[in-house]
């Protein structure tokens, strides 16, 4: 658009020059054109754009004697063209915005800070100390102006609102978290944009209210997972209020208290599936789907019963019961010297050697016919893990050779086709799964692995400890990925698989009180409390 205007000015002034030739002059038009073009040249010296061409032409103008008024106009038009093409919107508006900011007086009586979202605001704290007020307003004044000609950016919905209260008026400033090239400070009712990297940190450093834990009084439990508590606090501060008259007060059955630091707390009411939360101001906020699921899960898992002593649990592998006609055993050979895995057929009393083993403590697991998994202890803590086909006992496949496999860790899926085992690497252990006997074992996880159990042929549950937190993880064997991590408020012991449910126990031993609970996780991956 600007260039169209410049073209129009050029054409207009040339036409005017053609029309108003007063005296005869050779090469008049060409001289006019030269005057105009040279006057339009500008250069950048020390940042300022100077119309140097116009200066040159005005020197020549002093010598020229004919058609002086027209030539003066040509020089003037050249200067106007320089101004139009060199000035950008930023050059004009930046001084004005700086001036607007400069007029913010530092003597406000009070500064009030609110949370700001699109529809309403919540009061957080206020500052009345004059020195602090001065330093805050100085930081605000150091904001850089943001100038954009053909677009206007409006403030975000999760920010803060600062109100500077003067005796005669109140100035409101909306602050958003800092992003590098998008304004985050919006001053006044028209949201004049500025950028300031220090203000958001200044507010969060002053806002020293932190949530600690969520106590559910109706079930006498507490949820202490900090990531859930922090998400809940953010959603309480910035959640949008729901004005739905169909939600009545009776659905808020779960009553709780969010404990904050400095001995403060706020009471909250939750609906029974944690969809809605009601604050003590009777304001109703809808929680995000993620927080609702997590709160639900943790609520169920934290309902432990006080007991006098904790029951020790050992887990059981999943096995099909051995068939009646064929028995498998580890026994000595006829010379009573070497051990081996024998298959004895009770109907015709024959005993057949399948494979030799190094020690009588070796273990075997019956996979789907005709495979057998044999864990051979070669030396203490050194095992071979191999797959034997009963029909071809001479050909066996080593799954692992000379590794420290934990014998208690081997788990089989209900169909006896897939199995897992854990190898101890010294300071950590690695969990492997074998789904296809012709492929190498897949690593599931490394770390402090506790246990693993197959919930079904598709899902494998394993437990591990990371930084003193127990986690129950769900691994999908079809996707070959861990699909869920559940934080356990206590110590986790996986017990057994029964009726497509994994039964596990949680022991809580903090605060000098012993608490225990038994839970079941079904194939829909939902947790229920049993007993």
């Amino acid at each position: 658009m600007k260039y169209l205007l410049i073209l129009a000015i050029i054409l207009q002034i040339l036409f005017y020059a053609y029309k108003s030739q007063e005296e005869y002059e050779p090469f008049y038009i060409i001289k006019c054109i030269i005057y105009l073009i040279v006057s339009s040249i500008h250069s950048v010296i020390i940042i300022i754009k100077l119309p140097l061409g116009a200066c040159l032409m005005s020197l020549i103008y002093l010598i020229d004697k004919k058609n002086r008024s027209v030539k003066l106009r040509l020089i003037g038009s050249g200067i106007i063209i320089v101004l139009l093409s060199a000035l950008t919107y930023k050059d004009i508006s930046q001084p004005f915005q700086k001036l607007y900011l400069y007029h913010l007086q530092p003597d406000a009586k009070k500064i009030e800070i609110y949370t700001h979202n699109a529809t309403d605001k919540k009061f957080l704290f206020s500052i009345e100390n004059q020195d602090t007020i001065h330093s805050w307003i100085n930081i605000i004044k150091k904001s850089n102006s943001y100038n954009s000609w053909n677009y206007k950016i409006l403030p975000q919905n999760t920010g803060y609102l600062i109100k500077l209260c003067y005796p005669s008026k109140t100035t409101s400033i909306v602050i958003s978290p800092y992003t590098s090239h998008i304004p985050n400070v919006f001053v006044g009712n028209y949201y004049i944009p500025f950028t300031n990297a220090l203000l958001p940190d200044l507010i969060t450093s002053q806002l020293d209210i932190k949530p600690l834990a969520l106590h559910i009084s109706s079930a006498a439990t507490a949820i202490t997972d900090m990531s859930i508590i922090n998400d809940l606090w953010d959603e309480i501060l910035w959640g949008e209020q729901i004005n739905d008259s169909s939600i009545n007060n009776e659905i808020f059955e779960i009553k709780g208290d969010l404990l904050l630091n400095k001995n403060k707390g706020i009471s909250l009411n939750f609906s029974s599936d944690f969809t809605y939360i009601q604050l003590n101001t009777k304001e109703i906020i809808q929680l995000s789907a993620y927080l609702k699921n997590k709160l639900n899960e943790q609520y169920i898992l934290s309902q432990l019963d006080a007991v006098d002593s904790l029951m020790p649990y050992t887990h059981s592998h999943v096995h099909t019961p051995p068939s009646h006609t064929v028995n498998y055993m580890i026994a000595l050979d006829s010379v009573q010297k070497y051990h081996g895995l024998y298959m004895s057929n009770t109907s015709d009393n024959t005993k057949m050697l399948l494979h030799t083993v190094s020690s009588p403590e070796s273990e075997f697991f019956l996979l789907k016919n005709p495979y057998i998994l044999l864990l051979d202890e070669k030396f203490p803590s050194i095992y071979h893990l191999m797959l034997i086909n009963q029909n071809i006992p001479n050909k066996h496949r080593y799954v692992e050779k000379s590794k420290n496999i934990l014998p208690d860790s081997i788990a089989l899926c209900p169909q006896n086709t897939k199995f897992t085992y854990t190898i101890d690497n010294g300071d950590s252990s690695t969990l492997y799964v074998v789904s296809n006997y012709y492929d190498p074992p897949l690593t599931i996880a490394t770390g402090e692995i506790l246990d693993s159990l197959f919930l079904s042929d598709k899902y494998l549950l394993f437990s591990l400890v990371i930084e003193n937190t127990y986690l129950l993880c769900i691994y999908d064997t079809q996707l070959s990925k861990t699909i869920r991590y559940i934080t356990i408020p206590g110590e986790l012991h996986m017990i057994k698989v029964e009726n497509n449910n994994v039964i596990f126990a949680i022991h809580h031993t903090k605060d000098g009180q012993l608490k225990e609970g038994l839970f079941a996780l079904n194939t829909d991956l939902k947790i229920k409390k049993i007993s």
Partner: protein, 168 residues
Amino acid sequence: MPRLSKIFFNSTQLILLLYSIYCIIFIIYHFLIPQTGEVSIFIQPNINNPEIQKVTITPKKASSKYYLLVYEDYERNNWIYYMHQNYNKKREEIARTFLPADNMKYLLLEGDKKTNFFSFELKRKYHSNYISPHKSVFHLIYLVPYKLFLFPEFYYCIHRTFYIDSLK
């Protein structure tokens, strides 16, 4: 000849007048707070595969034309890692204005009155085997153009930030 010159003169005056009206309109735009309505963002993890997250963006008051620009605030480009194939000039300009200088990967969706929600799935590029609670920051810029007659478009931009948590 005089009539031609008069027409010519008037047309240049007209251009001057149009230009000043354009400047005044744009200055007024800068002082207007439009009622563009809110845009809500809903993130839902895929229950079977947490590597895939489904993002649904719904503008509450869909105007007759609007744009949604989504980009990731982390230079690893873990979730949005493809480049657009079309070279529409207007879309390039929008992307160039709002994206940080080194980021070339973004999603630019165009909508109208009839389209009132957008849903797309994002998959992580780098598979995480271990638990690392990392929140990926995304920016959404909801652009609503205002256009009067033949003057250029003026965009009102609502900027929202949303997070995708790798553990969800």
